[in-house]
Symmetry: C2
Subunit: 225 residues, 2 copies
């Protein structure tokens, strides 16, 4: 499959790198490819400059958001939650039509400081906002409940754990579930329609406190039953 | 220890029954003990009438909220979230002073139908509301993230899982953690101060969707790390 991964940060690089490793075609989308390649400093999360990362991932192309989405079978939203709707608009509604749109973003609001709050919650979700803005896309919410490295390599943990999918399109959830299993996930729980993403997005507050309490983001929820 | 368990519903009965079984003194608090004992019909959750349950738990006393709290070393808030502040006021601020107040309630709002939303979230929590209303109580939030039967008998699951404690008083959290281990919990995670209860209370939305997806409330979160 040909994937467009929107976003060059920690999540975008982790997902794109793993997809490439698994033999998929990958184009990363960014606002301004020339500017992204020209950066020589670490990004705000401490990631090395994109060009440095790209030199180690020569099979992965870089394009504008629209250029990436235009060629893809599936689009991964790996942007920050606050930027997601704008970035997807730049990717272009026509380029998202009928596409599987894998939404990993979280609606984090850092304007009140740390820990962040959520700018949408409980009666709505970022995933539903995206679906309403792009009604012809097939949005599946997943992987927003664990750290980037574990999203794509859950076997780094000492035992199996759980991930969730939410979406209104059963076929799209099937495509995503298959991909999650390629990544190594052994327990993919289909929560139901896209409104169930309210639940997984509202996991972030306890995830953030667990990070603080455990002193590491290398953990995941397992649903024991 | 002498416990007051406020609430005669599913959670109150589960906790009181288990405490009694473990050899603790238990008084259940209710609004009107005579009315509670006089009921002959199942409650809204399908639990048998209290008198029927009490006949099988003869070591457990029933008293008014204030009568129960007045004799207790620790008080368990096993009421519905919407009733919690009123019930604790009836228990009496003087009776809560210096007491360990174990808050199991969730701020569920059923006014919009099913699934419920939360009437406080993200920038505040029910646990913090309770602490502000009763500043001399030593509030510990715990056990609000799993079904009543598993709160007190987590070994009913095929493997160990996790529970959380949040609170501003380290000694009170120690008392509660010891009690949780008596119940059978093997992984008690101290999330930090009481504001971390925002995280565990916001787990409820995904808990409710998991109940729907799995078709059973007999599951729990395990933090794999």
């Amino acid at each position: 499959m040909h994937f467009a991964v929107l976003g060059t940060g920690t999540v975008g690089r982790a997902v794109a790198g793993r997809l490439d490793e698994l033999g998929h075609d990958v184009t990363i989308g960014t606002r301004d490819p020339r500017a992204t390649l020209a950066r020589t400093e670490a990004d705000g999360m401490g990631n090395p400059p994109y060009a440095e990362w790209a030199a180690q991932h020569t099979g992965i192309r870089l394009a504008s958001f629209a250029g990436a989405a235009g060629q893809a079978d599936a689009v991964v939203n790996a942007t920050s939650g606050e930027a997601s709707l704008e970035v997807l608009a730049l990717a272009g509604a026509a380029n998202l039509k009928e596409r599987v749109l894998i939404d990993i973003a979280n609606p984090l609001d850092f304007s009140r400081g740390i820990p962040p709050t959520l700018f949408v919650k409980d009666t709505d979700s970022l995933a539903e906002q995206i679906q309403r803005a792009f009604p012809n896309a097939r949005v599946v919410k997943t992987l927003n409940t664990l750290t980037a490295a574990l999203m794509v390599r859950p076997d780094a943990l000492p035992e199996g754990s759980s991930v969730f999918v939410s979406g209104d399109d059963a076929d799209a959830k099937g495509v995503v579930s298959t991909l999650l299993k390629e990544f190594g996930h052994t327990d993919v729980i289909d929560l139901g329609d896209l409104s169930t993403a309210r639940g997984t997005e509202m996991l972030l507050p306890v995830w953030l406190r667990l990070w603080g309490a455990l002193g590491t983001p290398t953990f995941n929820f397992k649903i024991v039953r």
